[in-house]
């Protein structure tokens, strides 16, 4: 039996090693470059930019975490513990904000909240004609946009924790005479804590690596600064130093998330238990719950989506729907398809070996592939750029560079579905097939492949979508003639040509919608 696996795995082993190398090498290269930069440059950056950037990044992450905590936990509680008309609709609808890339929401909000924008007009109606709102291009603006965009992470994790929680704990507490509120505080919340913390860590990771929203809202974070350094300076030393800080920060939250997600497994008892009963609401409760959810979802999805549709059908926007626009569409589809296919091809040997021959080498290769989680877009671009110019300059400026950046960046999302897909089939099935006379290739084709196909498809779709929405790496690495939809949104929106950006943005949102179902049913962590 060993021979079967060995036959398959020795060439695979090489492939896996090469793939892991491909992924880890650029990261190492950038880090090495950062550490080899002259101390003078370090000193200068340390004295001027780094404290401000670290402070901005961390404080944005903290405030977004607090707001998503409130929004995510409260909405999850409403849809799991209350029963009211339309509950199931809201349960599904609350993930919709994930279909909206941060740069789209950011540009819509810079209009909505902007100087002389509709919300300010409303406010002036209430508070007098001289009243001013806060600017969306600020700490507060960035916080609101990022929180509205990411609270579904916390919502989803909390919701599943609430659904899977063994309700007997609460019942025991209530039976012992503890009040409902105190039970919530002392029993329910502590039980959900690991899930909530995991969700928050995910939100923070997302905020820390976001480029789209902060660039459009002009809020200086580390990720944005890396991009600015790359585009405004003739050498990449400062960019790589900032990247080093960024990667360390991201790593910190990735480890936190992993640790708490792992812990949350032990908090949930398996076996027989009753699902929690939902509290039937009367009409005041229904109105209250519906009102609350409408406000949140209205701000996070409905109003922005309405605006996008409206703008997309404006005359100016319609005029941009020419053959050039179709070119952007096909560029987006093409790049995303190649990146997704490449990601599956590279991820497959890694996941397969790690599940079949979990040696330290193979597991290490798999973990290396998760490096993408701590490589925000501009850093991934910088890493690939530095590597290619040093090692294979002939390929620099070709589409391959961009594809490699995508694969590195988004492979973790794909692996999240590839890994479980491969783990669920036992080697026995293949061995039976072999003992019944099928050769290695037929076994793979007729037994293994059909079993893992769905996992593959999900992985592919996830990577396709991520790539299609990707902004910073595309901006930095696109070859001539490879503008994508995301690029168009950003270019138009950053000059405040809101209508012109709308059709491309709307298309991105629409394409993301059906795939959101996949995300929710499988691996929404990757949105």
């Amino acid at each position: 039996m060993i021979t079967i696996r060995q036959q398959l795995s020795s060439p695979l082993q090489l492939v896996a090693l090469a793939s892991a190398g491909l992924i880890i090498l650029p990261l190492g290269y950038v880090m090495a470059q950062a550490l080899s930069v002259d101390a003078v440059v370090w000193g200068r950056l340390w004295a001027t930019r780094i404290p401000e950037l670290l402070f901005n990044t961390v404080s944005l992450a903290a405030s977004v975490a607090v707001i998503t905590l409130v929004l995510g936990v409260s909405t999850a509680w409403v849809v799991t513990r209350l029963e009211f008309p339309g509950r199931r609709f809201w349960e599904g609808a609350l993930v919709l904000p994930l279909a909206m890339p941060t740069y789209v929401l950011a540009y819509l909000y810079s209009y909505l909240l902007g100087f002389g924008g509709p919300i300010e007009h409303l406010w002036q109606f209430v508070a007098g004609p001289q009243a001013r709102l806060f600017s969306p291009h600020s700490y507060l603006g960035a916080t609101i946009v990022m929180a509205l965009d990411t609270f579904p992470f916390v919502y989803l994790l909390t919701r599943s924790a609430l659904l899977n929680m063994n309700v007997s704990f609460e019942e025991v507490s209530r039976a012992s005479g503890v009040s409902r509120l105190w039970t919530l505080w002392r029993v329910t919340l502590p039980l959900m804590r690991p899930s909530i913390v995991a969700g928050l860590a995910l939100v923070i990771l997302y905020v820390v690596s976001d480029f789209g929203a902060v660039s459009l809202l002009r809020y200086q974070t580390l990720t944005y600064a890396v991009f600015q350094q790359m585009t405004g300076r003739s050498d990449n030393s400062a960019a790589s130093i900032l990247s080093l800080f960024l990667v360390s920060l991201a790593l910190l939250f990735l480890v936190t998330e992993r640790w708490f997600r792992h812990r949350s497994r032990f908090y949930q008892t398996s076996g027989h238990y009753r699902s929690p009963q939902r509290h039937q609401c009367g009409w005041p409760g229904t109105v209250l719950a519906t009102g609350y959810l409408s406000v949140i979802l209205g701000a996070a999805f409905a109003i922005p989506a309405y605006l996008l549709v409206n703008w997309s059908f404006s005359m100016q926007a319609q005029a941009t729907l020419d053959s050039r626009f179709m070119g952007f569409v096909s560029n987006s589809a093409l790049l995303a398809a190649i990146a997704a296919t490449g990601g599956v091809l590279i991820g497959l040997p890694l996941a397969y070996l790690a599940s079949r021959r979990p040696s330290w080498l193979n597991l290490g290769c798999l973990q290396a592939a998760y490096a993408g989680y701590v490589l925000p877009g501009p850093v991934a671009a910088l890493a690939v750029l530095v590597l290619f110019t040093k090692l294979v300059p002939i390929l620099y400026g070709s589409v391959l560079v961009l594809i490699v950046a995508y694969v590195i960046h988004f492979l973790p999302a794909g692996l999240q579905s590839l890994e479980p897909a491969l783990q669920q089939i036992t080697p026995n099935l293949e061995e039976v097939s072999r003992s019944l006379g099928l050769n290695v290739r037929d076994t793979w084709r007729r037994v293994t492949l059909p079993l893992v196909r769905n996992g593959f498809i999900v992985a592919w779709v996830l990577m396709f979508l991520q790539t299609m929405k990707e902004l910073p790496a595309t901006l930095l690495l696109r070859p001539v003639g490879f503008d994508t939809l995301a690029i168009r949104v950003w270019l138009e929106a950053s000059e405040e040509y809101y209508q012109l950006a709308a059709p491309a943005a709307l298309l991105i949102v629409i394409v993301s919608l059906p795939a959101l179902l996949l995300l929710v049913s499988k691996d929404w962590r990757a949105a």
Partner: protein, 351 residues
């Protein structure tokens, strides 16, 4: 889970997959590192806003039938890219919003000297490299845009006065990566020295606060809306805004015209032909088109820049070119001034 499971989507996903695969196969050849299908096109790396340069290039295509492929990005970013691509670059033409960047490209050996009488005749010597490896196409001035309801022109004098605390939170400034800010600071340094420039930048940083913009059009927009009272931008963004919204309460103030002042800071947008170009004839045709009267008139009419061709008039809405002085720092010096300027900007901590 109340959501449809992945399996039910599998069918649809597979058809999507096949669709995309077909697309990939159809467009396959485009993907090779050396773009074969683009072989006949003139490839242009442009650091100018696409909105400003594309109409001009479209006019060129309409006239000559030569197709162009445009890669729009930041000037410095494209310069980095050209350096990294070296001999293998697919680019034929480099267009920038800043003479300093062109001079840097020249000193890096990226550009090809041009021996063309059309250039010598059309563009005055001070606006191009001595060997014509880059040629200025249009002039722009770094000016103060002010909101006419909030500011009277007699409150304004020199750019350096904008460091005064009275402008705190009333001024919008470009981000430190923008080449025209870097060029502007270089000119101020060359005129007044590092110490004075540093004071200016510190004041500007404090007064600007949050109002640091990536795009000049946004600065003009902010001033027009009254969000800030003044801003520093290139002049043509103001006139373009006024051309679209004639009633907007904004106006241009040409700074540093006072007795003994340095004069307004001028820069040019320009063009260079890449050394390795395989389309030299087409590239020369483009340069010829752009320096000729017809091309220069496009920059004047569409973009509201000052044409460099002496016989082409600027848009009448603009301040008469002869009525003000330009700072006396040669454009070619912008390149050597760049690096210490960046260090100074970084020391001050401009965003």
């Amino acid at each position: 889970m109340p959501y449809p499971c992945a399996a039910s989507l599998a069918g649809r996903t597979v058809s999507l997959w096949l669709f995309v695969l077909t697309l990939v196969l159809l467009a396959g050849p485009d993907f090779l590192p050396s773009p074969t299908s683009a072989a006949d096109k003139l490839i242009i790396y442009s650091g100018r806003a696409e909105r400003l340069i594309k109409p001009v290039l479209d006019a060129f295509t309409a006239k000559t039938g030569i197709q162009v492929e445009l890669l729009s990005s930041g000037t410095t970013e494209l310069l980095n890219r050209l350096k990294a691509e070296g001999d293998r670059t697919p680019a034929d033409i480099f267009i920038t919003n800043d003479a300093g960047s062109l001079e840097l490209a020249r000193t890096a050996g990226l550009l090809r000297p041009l021996n063309m009488r059309e250039i010598d005749r059309a563009i005055p010597q001070q606006y191009r490299a001595p060997d014509n490896s880059w040629v200025g196409l249009s002039g722009r001035f770094w000016i103060i845009v002010y909101n006419t309801t909030q500011v009277k022109p007699d409150q304004l004098r020199s750019l350096l006065d904008l460091a005064d605390p009275k402008w705190k939170d009333k001024i919008a400034i470009p981000n430190s990566g923008s080449e025209y800010l870097q060029a502007g600071v270089s000119v101020i340094r060359a005129t007044y020295g590092d110490e004075r420039t540093k004071q200016f930048l510190v004041g500007l940083r404090d007064n600007g606060g949050n109002q640091v913009y990536q795009k000049s059009s946004q600065i003009v927009e902010a001033v027009a809306k009254g969000q800030v009272a003044i801003g520093i931008v290139n002049h043509y963004y103001v006139y373009r805004h006024l051309a679209m919204q004639p009633g907007a309460p904004i106006a241009v103030f040409m700074p540093d015209q006072q007795e003994g002042g340095m004069g307004s800071i001028m820069n040019v947008a320009g063009i260079g032909v890449i050394k390795q170009t395989k389309h030299l004839e087409s590239a020369k045709l483009l340069v010829e088109f752009l320096v000729a009267q017809a091309g220069q008139k496009l920059f004047a009419d569409l973009d509201k820049e000052y044409p460099l061709h002496s016989e082409v008039k600027a848009d009448p809405a603009l301040i008469e070119r002869k009525s003000f002085r330009a700072a006396q720092v040669p454009l070619t010096r912008l390149a050597e001034l760049r690096e210490p300027t960046l260090t100074l900007i970084e020391q001050v901590g401009l965003r």
